[in-house]
């Protein structure tokens, strides 16, 4: 449970509910401080750290290896890709690949389209999600929990079950090959976001908001002046996660977008892959893929703390 006293620290306290703690019977014999053993176990600890550090490093190499290999390939000549033994450091460096990608396919319009979809959905959708979360957590509404459960049940229905009727519906509206099918459903809010914001708000004491009401503040005012500042860290984290999910979406775009200049970035790099693999122009494919990775990579490195904390929270709340 998060506390109101430290809303800026936000999402970190993840505690096991005390009722779930196992009873081991010897709780009273606790020795304060550490005192975990004699000095020899410190040497053991250090040896353990070295072994664990080695294994983690090995794993780390496996984790970044394919990414570095992509980067390396993207800087090679078309022939350099087939060099034996393989070169990790390209010789020569072909920066020109990163120039060619902009004319080899609709990469720029792909980025623009992805940005349009991701920003319009997350900005509008976040407003409606947080208003709904406020209502679900703090306002007296008939059948409040019933409505909430109905929304939650939507999480259990996989998208592929809905995609055929949605496609038919949108094509009747003339929306195929436009960005609208990707944007409009998201504008109504995101159930996951409502769920987490509601959870977060339920730890805010009602009395705080009641006080504002007595002072004559309207509900939108209360929301804007009291609720929003309180849940801002939670909103930020959910916003980033949602943004990245839309940025990386693939199945919905591939259904709706046919013409190259309408496609989102993920589809553009997929068609780079299909088109240039035949010509064995792997450096070009890898350069385009790497460019597609960069925005999300940057967002992650900048907002790492918020992202990691809110992800860690998912498990304990789910």
């Amino acid at each position: 449970m998060t506390t109101v006293e430290s809303p800026s620290q936000g999402l970190d306290p993840i505690k096991a509910p005390s009722s779930k703690l196992p009873k081991l019977g010897t709780g009273k014999l606790l020795i304060p401080g550490k005192g975990f053993g004699p000095a020899s176990s410190q040497g053991k600890q250090r040896l353990g750290n070295i072994i664990v550090g080695f294994v983690l490093s090995l794993g780390g190499i496996i984790m970044v290896g394919p990414l570095l290999w992509t980067l390396s390939t993207s800087l090679k000549t078309r022939e350099g890709v087939f060099a034996l033994p393989p070169q990790w450091i390209p010789d020569p460096f072909v920066w020109e690949n990163y120039v060619r990608i902009w004319t080899a396919g609709p990469l720029l319009s792909g980025i623009t389209n992805s940005l349009i979809v991701a920003f319009s959905v997350t900005i509008v959708g976040t407003v409606f999600s947080s208003l709904a979360a406020y209502a679900f957590a703090k306002l007296r509404i008939p059948f409040r929990n019933g409505f909430f459960l109905i929304l939650l049940s939507g999480l259990m229905i996989p998208y592929p079950t809905l995609m055929i009727p949605q496609f038919v519906m949108f094509s009747e509206w003339g929306w195929v090959n436009t960005l609208l099918p990707l944007i409009v459903p998201g504008l109504f809010g995101n159930i996951m976001m409502i769920f987490f914001l509601r959870q977060y708000l339920s730890s805010v004491p009602d009395s705080m908001l009641e006080a504002a009401k007595i002072d004559g503040a309207g509900y939108l005012q209360t929301f804007g002046r009291m609720v929003l500042p309180l849940i801002r860290p939670a909103i930020a984290a959910q916003f980033i996660l949602w943004f990245m999910a839309i940025w990386n979406d693939y199945l919905a775009p591939i259904i709706y977008l046919n013409s190259p200049e309408k496609q989102t970035l993920q589809l553009v790099i997929a068609s780079f892959n299909a088109q240039y693999a035949i010509q064995t122009d792997y450096p070009l494919i890898m350069a385009a893929s790497f460019v597609a990775l960069i925005p999300v990579l940057l967002i992650f490195l900048i907002f790492q703390r918020q992202i990691i904390e809110s992800i860690a929270l998912t498990g304990s709340k789910g």
């Binding site: 709780g27 606790l30 750290n49 983690l56 208003l131 306002l139 055929i164 009727p165 993920q266 890898m286």
Partner: protein
Amino acid sequence: MALNDVATTPPTPATKKAANQRSSGTSRLHARERRIGLAFIAVPLVGFTIFTLYPLIFSVYASLTQWNGLGPMNFIGLGNYERLLQDEYFHKALFNTFYLMIGIPIGLILSLLLALAMNRKMRGTTFFRTIYYIPVISSLAAIAIMWQWAYNGDFGLINQTLAIFGIDGPNWLENTSTVKPAIILMTVWKGLGYSMLLYLAAIQSVPASLYEAAALDGAGALRKFRSITLPMVRPVTFFLVVTSIIGGAQVFIEINIMTPDGGPQFSSATIVWYIWQKAFDNLQMGYAASMSIVLGLIVFVITAIQFRLNARNSFSIE
């Protein structure tokens, strides 16, 4: 603003009735709170009705018809479902989808071990956490393109690494016996950081006093792991198993990119890939809808079973 439009929409008859019943005796303030609260939750509920509920009902009906998506819908009862029982491709797609889920337990075990390693008091764990998390946030489309190249039979990263040890690797994605393990390996690699993070948060929330008490009782490291850590992280395991199965049932992107035609002899085609092909390539929308209903049922049943199992043996510590 759209908000005002929503605020004026009347509540549904059922809620209005209940509202009237309760409003006798309560102040006008509460009536206003109800109205505004309903307006706030109306946005996601309207979205749910248009983009989830209606398509779901439509999908059930469409699954009972022969239909190409444009022309008339011929009602054929359970004809599509009878056809599913005989369709060998569908059976193969089902088999492949579940086969690919082998990666789930592998990933869980590896990520729990990783989380234990990262839980040690040593330097560099934050750095490793970032490294292991990068594949998680990266777009699956770009990752699939990278790994398709890494699996290249002659010049891919995997086979060139194997060549160092004198192993002549197969052409991974062109071979019926290696294509599924290859995809599993990639999926485990991509998801490791996510489950590791959830496990790490759970492990860190275990009160240190439990371990100290167990140590006083003479419990060794293995015993402590089995009797304290494992039961304490069970909710996370449960969460990960459920979400991974729901996600695993919907695998599509990597198949679509790495093996665009469903792999050699259909050996990597999944349910969603087959639904997508039938619906949007062959325009057999009715038949595809019946498969999508089966997929929805599978997801629903698995989730229900998991919840039953978890309710029965949660938090039992011997």
